[in-house]
Amino acid sequence: MEEQNSAALLSHEQLVVLVAKNKDKEAFKTLFYHFAPRLKSYLLNFKIGNQKAEELAQEVMMILWQKAEKFDAEKAKLSTWLFRVARNKFIDHSRRQKYATVNAEDHMKEMVAPERTDEPFEAQERSTLIIEAMKKLSTDQRTVIELSFFKELSHSEIAAETGLPLGTVKSRIRMAFQVLRNELGELR
């Protein structure tokens, strides 16, 4: 990786490496302008004020700056890592709770070896795969996934919101997850 490409031509994961190794501010700026508006948008789903959403998005990006060297592109995509940090930050802020972390960098055990085909997707294609995968869900399945991720509703809260029996909510989430995992499988 000796060529000095302009930051815009590098993948997000390559930019993180530059941040980790050189504290490269240009690389970080590119990441910031891509992710901060999206993190804020995700956080605004939870009915927090504009300013708070911006503050939390900024804090998430600060953690990326500080812990960039702990990010391992072999184990997770950058959007996954940032999502996890944003989720935990929001819960910490809204419920004054610490959300236990499964895949924290320092407790990663050996993961099931991912079936990796080398660079099968362009970065752009890769990041929109989830949209295609969501289209494969039935409307009912999409609803339970959206209520989970965009409203953070528990199984019983989803049951109350939709009027469905609890067992149906659980089985729909299971089915939806199976469909999404199949569709996104190539990413792993």
Binding site: A104, L180, R188
Partner: protein, 214 residues
């Protein structure tokens, strides 16, 4: 639950989305610590969250947000993760407790049984540790709502089913006369979350229940 003692996927999705309470998240995360295939599933579910986040319509951000962040970066040391206190415990639990099990305040709750209450949430949700001597019997009880039990040490049986370290038992309203028997040998220690006080059958049990706090 299939396979035996392993949590089903709807819990993985709700954990990853951030929908679980503090207690349920801790029990699920600790359970996953024992099972690499569950960690992979969590990662997949978090990748769904990451994908959905990345594809939201970007919000407007303040013009000076980036410069403001850069000005804060100087002089802010990254806070290092604390060293884990008890390596025998799953990492999420060790981090949560921040001290070894022996240093917790265990309260007797019956012959061979003691407990530590860790957290009480809204709607009487409770997170606690249960320690039972080998051979002990937990008094027969019914449940109001969901009970999750993660075995940390030792083992117990409910009928034919045996629960060993890392395995999770889920009992709910339909689980009547729940009467776990601890296997002989070392103490059995479990991390438990109940959604409402359990209903103990025996008169003595019901009399002491308010004092032991279950």
């Amino acid at each position: 639950m299939t396979p035996h003692g392993i949590i089903t996927d709807e819990w993985i999705v709700s954990y990853a989305s951030g929908a679980l309470s503090e207690a349920h998240a801790l029990v699920v995360a600790s359970h996953c610590h024992y099972h690499p295939e569950l960690q992979q599933k969590v990662l997949d579910a978090e990748a769904i969250g990451g994908g959905l986040m990345e594809n939201t319509q970007p919000a407007e951000i303040s013009d000076d947000l980036f410069e403001d962040l850069m000005s804060k970066l100087d002089g802010v040391p990254a806070n290092d993760e604390p060293a884990l206190q008890d390596s025998k415990l799953p990492a999420p639990l060790a981090e949560y407790l921040d001290k070894p099990l022996d240093e917790l305040k265990w309260k007797m709750m019956g012959p061979g049984l003691s407990q530590v209450r860790l957290w009480t949430g809204p709607n009487d949700e409770r997170l606690w540790l249960l320690r039972a001597k080998g051979g002990a019997k937990v008094p027969a009880h019914d449940h109001n709502g969901l009970e999750m039990t993660l075995v940390l040490q030792g083992s117990y049986r409910v009928g034919e089913a045996q629960f060993t370290p890392g395995l999770m038992e889920i009992a709910d309203d339909d689980t009547r006369n729940h009467c776990p028997e601890i296997d002989h040998g070392e103490d059995c220690i479990c991390l438990v979350v109940t959604e409402a006080p359990i209903k103990i059958h025996s008169l003595i049990g019901r009399l002491v229940q308010p004092f032991i706090g279950l």
